[in-house]
């Protein structure tokens, strides 16, 4: 395996950081967060501890994501919020499913 390929694998499935920053900006705006978009750690959990979002925030964010990217988020139930494990997980999901 080439050095490039292995590095790519280590980072996979990283989305380009522009999309991550854009989503972080939408989050800060839609949820009136007390932090700046750049300060959101792409790997930190969004839900509960970490950024401190709760299920109402997740619902608000799901609406923003459906309107901006045409992605309808799905889960088995409200406790299965893996997409919101981190900003990067959310961005990866949107990149893979966006229609806008």
């Amino acid at each position: 395996m080439s050095e490039n390929a292995s590095r790519k694998e280590a980072l996979a499935p990283a989305t380009d950081s522009t999309l991550q920053r854009e989503i972080a900006g939408l989050m800060v705006e839609a949820l009136n967060l007390e932090t700046s978009a750049n300060a959101i750690d792409p790997q930190a959990p969004l839900y509960g501890e970490g950024l401190g979002l709760d299920s109402i925030d997740i619902l608000e964010l799901a609406l923003v994501v459906s309107k901006r990217y045409g992605v309808q988020l799905r889960a088995d139930n409200s406790d299965n919020l893996k997409i919101f494990a981190s900003l990067q997980a959310l961005a990866d999901h949107i990149a893979a499913h966006r229609s806008k």
């Binding site: 839609a30 949820l31 009136n32 007390e34 509960g48 501890e49 401190g52 709760d54 299920s55 109402i56 997740i58 619902l59 608000e60 799901a62 609406l63 923003v64 459906s66 309107k67 309808q72 988020l73 799905r74 889960a75 139930n77 409200s78 406790d79």
Partner: protein, 457 residues
């Protein structure tokens, strides 16, 4: 009066109201569960439950919750239904009752009580169709309100009164054994509204509950589409707003029911048109249970359950009659119209309702001030526009020299439900208390505005 017309007055009441062992009691993962199987699973679990008398039923699958509730009843136990399960609430519950244990269907459950996992193996349906009867006077559940101090208040609900309430509800919603819908809820079964409307009402009207609690709008639409007709949706203004704004295809329903906060008429109209069904609102509280309904696109006034009456003593309103055993205070601002109807004008000022979860400033302030390092602190309502799904959050100001706001927030998260966490938590040198030590909301809000405008924020 025929005994079956007055369920609250009978000495005992059946565990479920379905007509035969083949009646559908629930829908789970797209498949029906009939009454015979349901009762077999209830008996199986009842025989396995540990000896403690109090069961904290935290099952997230609504079918598991219903089996757990009925098994507890059959085994002579009482279900505990706190509206939130923060470590502080669990600590308080352990003091409230020493023998409580937790019935859970989540392998990752970390509630600090003895835990009893919902059994994985399923018993064979026995084929013996006999619905157990439960003594009406027996306490079936204990529900909790936050009260105006730091201590929750327990409200015991007898089996007879719970069933009497949901019989009145089913009648008002037009649900009978011959018109028995599949009932999908976006609210948890542990919340009083969800407990009554998504669990007890289907079990006692011959309807079918749905195990799922879909969260995202696309999940709600898909779960509804999977159900046979007639089908109904039990939801809240927050979930309904999200559902209507998400741009998903919605199936036609027989009925939509909404509660926990008043719904604007325009939103009700939009929902009726999108769902092709009437939307009814329910009014109630943890203390009284459900007591009235309204069809917001037709009428502004609320209609009480047939046997429930409101009384006034000065400014304070009380409900009594029907399933409301003793006179119970109603903490809303209500204008009487006639014996059966009223207008709702809002909530008393100490009460807080965020996205359908209720607490009081008294309780929240007590929890904030109980944190080590906090010398003074108070919550306030944020002014400004509610969010897209119609939620306004709280803010709080603390005086806590030497303790960073982040540490106080971490501790607060252990104590109160996440929806009440302050946004923002501001730090001040003192609070604007008046001569009597009181903190007017407008003074707090003014201080908050000043703190928010400080440079560096």
């Amino acid at each position: 009066m025929n005994a079956s017309d007055a369920p609250g007055l009978d000495a005992s009441l059946p565990l479920i109201g379905h007509a035969s062992e083949l009646s559908v009691v629930a829908w789970r993962r797209g498949r029906p569960v009939n009454a015979g199987r349901f009762l077999a699973e209830v008996r199986h679990l009842a025989a396995l439950l540990p000896p403690g008398r109090h069961v904290l039923n935290v099952c997230t699958d609504r079918y598991h919750f219903a089996v757990g509730l009925c098994a507890a009843l059959l085994a002579g136990k009482v279900s505990l239904l706190p509206s939130t399960q923060t470590p502080e609430v669990i600590r308080w519950l352990r003091d409230f009752t020493a023998d409580a244990y937790c019935l859970t269907d989540d392998p990752a459950c970390d509630i600090d009580l003895p835990r009893f996992p919902y059994p994985a193996e399923r018993p064979r349906a026995t084929g013996c169709w006999q619905v157990p009867r439960i003594e009406a006077a027996r306490p079936a559940a204990i529900v909790f309100t936050s009260g105006s101090t730091g201590t929750p208040i327990a409200h015991a609900k007898s089996w007879g009164r719970l069933v009497q309430c949901v019989h009145a509800e089913a009648q008002r919603l037009g649900i009978t054994r011959s018109h028995a819908p599949a009932v999908l809820g976006t609210v948890p079964p542990q919340h009083m509204y969800g407990f009554e409307t998504t669990v007890l009402m289907p079990l006692h009207s011959g309807a079918a509950l749905c195990a799922e609690k879909p969260f995202y709008p696309a999940d709600v639409a898909a779960a509804l589409a999977r159900l046979p007709r007639p089908r109904m949706l039990i939801t809240t203004p927050v979930h309904l707003r999200a559902l209507l704004q998400a741009g998903v295809d919605l199936p036609r329903l027989a009925l939509c029911v909404c509660a926990t906060a008043p719904l604007e008429e325009a939103l009700a109209r939009q929902a009726e048109s999108a769902l092709g069904a009437p939307l009814l609102e329910i009014f109630g509280s943890t203390e009284t249970g459900q007591i009235a309904t309204r069809w917001p696109t037709r009428e502004v006034r609320w209609e009480l359950w047939p046997e429930v009456r409101l009384q006034w003593q000065g400014e304070q309103v009380y409900a009594q009659g029907g399933h409301v055993e003793a006179r119970v205070a109603v903490n809303d601002i209500i204008e009487p119209l006639d014996e059966r109807h009223f207008l709702l004008h809002g909530r008393n000022s100490d009460l807080v309702n965020i996205a359908g979860k209720r607490s009081s400033f008294g309780y929240l302030n007590h929890q904030l001030n109980a944190i080590e390092g906090v010398r003074d602190g108070a919550f306030f309502l944020r002014d400004g526009q509610p969010s897209d799904v119609g939620v306004s959050r709280l803010g709080a100001i603390v005086v806590a020299p030497g303790f960073p706001a982040a540490a106080i927030l971490r501790e607060l998260r252990q104590r109160i439900d996440a929806v009440f966490l302050p946004r923002p938590l501001l730090v001040a040198e003192r609070l604007p208390r008046n001569d009597t030590g009181k903190l007017p909301q407008d003074a707090l809000q003014a201080l908050a505005r000043a703190l928010l405008q400080r440079p560096g924020r």
